[in-house]
């Protein structure tokens, strides 16, 4: 059970690390549009037959 003396502080450090990563992605605007990307992935960007313009 002694390993817990290491694992519990380690889990705390991990929590704060993950928090920092989330903070970074939040500030980078990755969470600004929560709905768009889900739809966007379904759209085909290159239509097979675009007529010449």
């Amino acid at each position: 059970m002694d390993i817990l003396y290491l694992l519990i502080p380690l889990s705390l450090v991990l929590v704060f690390l993950i928090g920092a990563v989330f903070w970074w992605s939040l500030q980078g605007g990755q969470f600004d549009d929560l709905e768009g990307p889900a739809h966007r992935i379904l759209q085909d960007d290159d239509d097979p037959s675009p007529p010449p313009r």
Binding site: M1, L4, Y5, I8, P9, S11, L12, V15, I18, G19, F22, W23, L26, Q27, F31, D32, D33, L34, E35, G36, H39, R40, L42, Q43, D44, D45, D47, S49, P50, P51, R53
Partner: protein
């Protein structure tokens, strides 16, 4: 009842889904198949989309496109002027970047269509559209393409774009949303991890865990709970502090009390070596509360974003009078380029572009957006006009005194804030309940403490803490806001924007629905079917006089007359002392003679003789006359909205009284009411009479919803308990209403009623559950049987049930797309365009190669 049927059976426009009028010759070729279109606008847009190879939009969309609006008179070239761009365009490495608000977005495919279309323009470097806020960030090379060309490209495919000028409000909103998400995340992660430390201690109650490990777990929990309490829960603590300073008990007080007591006791317990640790319960509690707040905030922001176009109530452009008073010729200029001393013409229905003094005309302005005062203010020559106030009556000429970004920005802010931040009365009622609740909880806790001190002093503190934790009104405080938030969001997705919080509650109580005719039940697009000159004048002369009088008017008839005059190349003279008499007509002096155009009564008061007998059948007659006699009889017709009959029938079946109150000729109104099967109808009413009728109904205990549109409906909209405006109507009536039906589709009204009814049902269920939970849990806590893990489970489960129950509103779409009616067999006939669009999706998903069914009878899945 059968009268609702023909509407739904008409073939639907392939682009916008509205029925195609019989005999329509508008078609577009899409993916090799001919599709029928309802109007020239849809046809042009569909052809533009097909011409660019973007037809996959039609395959992937999940809702029909917005109906095409009439071409607008906005001069796009205005947006290329540097002084206009200064407000919203940024320079980035030689390229320019602006944020545009897109109007007409109905589904994700619209986003794709716009992105592809704009990215295809030469000179456009980057396009990025946010689905939630309908904002596009566009970067372009000014040497290759102009902003006006970009805006024109957007309107070519059937949407409208205009610059987002309120960038500070936008930034504030983004900051608010990020902060809320961060608070939520801190609470969520804290909760999960604290739970990891707590569960072993619950399982090892037999003492198999050493004291050191236990202490370590507690310290780790404490470290993670501190940010949850002092950062995530800060809004609740601050709110409670504010409440206490104001000497009242709001919902935040019991929340803060529960959190505070549990946290203090849990921190103290491990050091003292006695008592319980509640860290996991606290973290979970805060997390659930923040979830509800976050949902609510997102729904609010979304509703505010879809109403952003109300910002246009403050015009970007103004009609500057070139050399007043010598002439009344106007230039369209950007509002920011106005200088003190300029003369500006403000037409009825438009907002005042700058602070100034009225120099000509007598009118009423509506300053409710600025002052909250809903009564119109009479303005006479020499009185000040405030920027942002809306001119209601007749054209006014204004001498500009103050211009400035400061005033305008603050108006925009107030406008959006009012729409977004109003607290629903329902929530306030819950707050009032909370005051009693807190008092009760405190009394119970005190009694419990007294009882235990007298019996078992060592347990008194911990039992009291358990009582406070268990009664923490988590579910109670989540019950109403989550349900309202989800329903506002659901409505917004269906094209109904609730601008004020009480809309949903009021909607569920409505007993009477009052419709205005022009623009509400009918298209509001009048066509002139006859123009008969009277008394010896020529057609051209009479038309010129009519066009002259209607120059400054926003009424649908005005634009039709203007268009007719323009088509026949008639030059309109300039009238003076033009005055609009709401509900009657317009008068003005031309060459010194007073002329009037309007209904027969209004004009005959001037001519002194009764109107010549004419048979107008069900058309709207408009008369033109001057002091010496009658000049012309004009005949207009207006067709019913395609879904009007269906909506009225459904509302009647649901037991609502339908009343039509209109300012139009009684004959016309009655003819329309007859076609719709409405018995209670009155025509020829001035706004004051409509107002009086609505008030009379209310005195008999009716809850009135007024569906209106246009400037003359504003007072009635304000009187009704619930005001509903058409999204295609005057901006003023939208700004004053509680609900806006975007895209001008009446059918959305049925969905709004259904969502509101279900929302109130869910609120009642939630409140009942929350109260039941407290009633059951409290005796156990008082008796001392509630351990921390039991408190945690109870609180978590009760909150979760409340939130999930509320979320049902957003998801369960199979039921309730129409109204609950007494005969359920008819639901098939009342399916909405939205549903049909979804069915189209399904049908196409199953057989992608069969192309598109063009009318609704094929649309239903086989």
């Amino acid at each position: 009842m059968t009268r609702a049927q023909p509407v739904i059976d008409a073939p639907a426009c392939y682009h916008c889904g509205l029925p195609v009028p019989a005999g329509s010759r508008f078609v577009a070729v899409i993916d090799g198949a001919q599709r029928s279109m309802c109007c020239a606008g849809c046809q042009a847009v569909a052809e533009a989309i097909a011409g660019e190879g973007l037809t996959s939009y039609y395959r992937s969309r999940s809702a029909y496109a917005a109906r095409q609006q009439e071409a607008t008179s906005d001069d796009l070239a205005l947006y290329d002027l540097p002084e206009v761009q200064r407000d919203f365009v940024r320079d980035i490495d030689g390229a320019r970047e602006a944020t545009l608000i897109l109007e007409g977005i109905t589904c994700a495919a619209c986003i794709w269509l716009n992105e592809r279309h704009l990215a295809g323009l030469p000179g456009v470097q980057a396009v990025e559209i946010n689905y939630t806020t309908h904002r596009a960030r566009v970067r372009w090379d000014p040497a290759l393409v102009s902003l006006s060309a970009i805006l024109a490209a957007v309107s070519a495919i059937g949407y409208r774009a205009f610059p987002a000028t309120g960038s500070s409000a936008e930034q504030a909103r983004r900051r608010e949303s990020r902060t809320a998400l961060w608070r939520l995340f801190v609470a969520a992660f804290g909760m999960m991890q604290v739970m990891m430390y707590a569960v072993p201690t619950y399982l090892a109650q037999d003492g198999s865990m050493s004291r050191d490990i236990l202490a370590l777990m507690h310290v780790a929990s404490l470290i993670l709970t501190v940010p949850v309490i002092f950062y995530s829960a800060a809004p609740f603590l601050l709110g409670a502090w504010r409440d206490l300073k104001l000497r009242r008990l709001g919902m935040d007080v019991p929340v803060a009390l529960g959190i505070g007591v549990a946290f203090a006791a849990s921190t103290y317990a491990p050091f003292a070596g006695v008592g319980e640790v509640y860290f996991d319960s606290i973290a979970m509690f805060v997390f659930f509360l923040l979830c509800a707040r976050y949902l609510e905030m997102r729904a609010r922001q979304k509703a505010a974003a879809s109403l952003e176009y109300l910002e246009r109530a403050l015009p970007l452009a103004a009609h500057r009078l070139r050399d007043y008073p010598a002439s009344r010729d106007t230039d369209e200029v950007p509002a920011v380029s106005l200088k003190p001393g300029d003369w500006v013409l403000v037409k009825p229905g438009e907002a005042v572009p700058a602070d100034g003094v009225l120099v000509d005309g007598e009118t009423e302005t509506d300053e409710s957006l600025l002052s909250g005062e809903s009564r119109p203010v009479v303005k006479r020559v020499g009185m000040p006009l405030v920027a942002g106030a809306v001119n209601r009556l007749s054209p006014a000429i204004l001498r500009v005194e103050q211009v400035g970004e400061a005033t305008r920005a603050s108006h925009i802010r107030r406008l959006t804030e009012r729409a977004a931040a109003q607290r629903p009365p329902l929530v306030e009622i819950t707050d009032r309940i909370a005051a009693w609740f807190v008092a009760g909880v405190l009394a119970v806790a005190a009694a419990t403490a007294l009882f235990w001190v007298s019996t078992d002093g060592s347990r008194a503190l911990w039992v009291t803490v358990a009582v406070l934790v268990v009664t923490c009104p988590c579910a109670l405080s989540l019950a109403t806001p989550t349900a309202l938030a989800v329903s506002i969001g659901t409505l917004a997705r269906r094209g109904v924007v609730a601008t004020r919080g009480h809309a949903i509650e009021a909607l569920s109580r409505v007993t009477h629905v009052v419709f205005d005719k022009t623009g509400t039940l009918t298209q509001g697009r009048l066509t002139m079917v006859a123009f008969e000159p009277l008394g010896g004048v020529t057609r051209g002369q009479a038309l010129a006089l009519a066009a002259a009088l209607e120059q400054g008017s926003e009424h649908p008839i005005a634009s039709t007359i203007q268009a007719a005059a323009a088509a026949e190349g008639v030059m309109a003279p300039t009238p003076v002392a033009v005055r609009t008499v709401a509900g009657s007509g317009v008068e003005g002096r031309i060459d010194g003679v007073l002329h009037r155009i309007g209904n027969a009564e209004f004009v005959s008061a001037l001519t002194g003789t009764p109107a010549p007998p004419r048979d107008f059948a069900a058309a709207t007659p408009v008369w033109l006359g001057h002091e010496r006699g009658w000049l012309a009889a004009l005949t207009f017709t207006d067709s019913l909205r395609p879904d009007a009959a269906q909506v009225i029938a459904a509302l009647q079946t649901a037991g609502k009284r339908i009343i039509i109150l209109s300012g139009d000729e009684p004959v016309v109104v009655r003819a329309i009411a007859e076609r719709l099967g409405v018995a209670d109808v009155e025509g020829g009413l001035p706004p004051e009479a409509k107002h009086a009728r609505v008030r009379a109904l209310q005195e008999q205990g009716a809850v009135v919803a007024m569906v209106g549109d246009g400037v003359n409906d504003a007072p009635v909209l304000a009187q009704a308990q619930l005001s509903i405006a058409m999204g295609s109507g005057a901006v003023l009536s939208q700004a004053q209403s509680d609900l806006v039906l975007l895209e001008g589709r009446l059918g959305r009204l049925l969905e709004a009623f259904s969502v509101a009814r279900r929302t109130m049902g869910i609120v009642r269920q939630n409140l009942a559950w929350a109260v039941a939970y407290n009633v059951v849990a409290l005796p156990f806590a008082i008796a001392g049987y509630v351990t921390p893990w039991l408190a945690g489970i109870g609180m978590g489960a009760s909150s979760l049930i409340v939130v999930l129950n509320a979320l049902r509103l957003g998801h369960d779409r199979t039921e309730g797309s129409g109204l609950r009616t007494r005969d359920s067999g008819r639901t098939q006939g009342r399916r909405t365009t939205d549903e049909r669009a979804r069915d189209e999706q399904k049908a196409e998903g199953a057989a992608p190669d069969t192309g598109h069914p063009a009318n609704s009878s094929v649309l239903s899945p086989d």
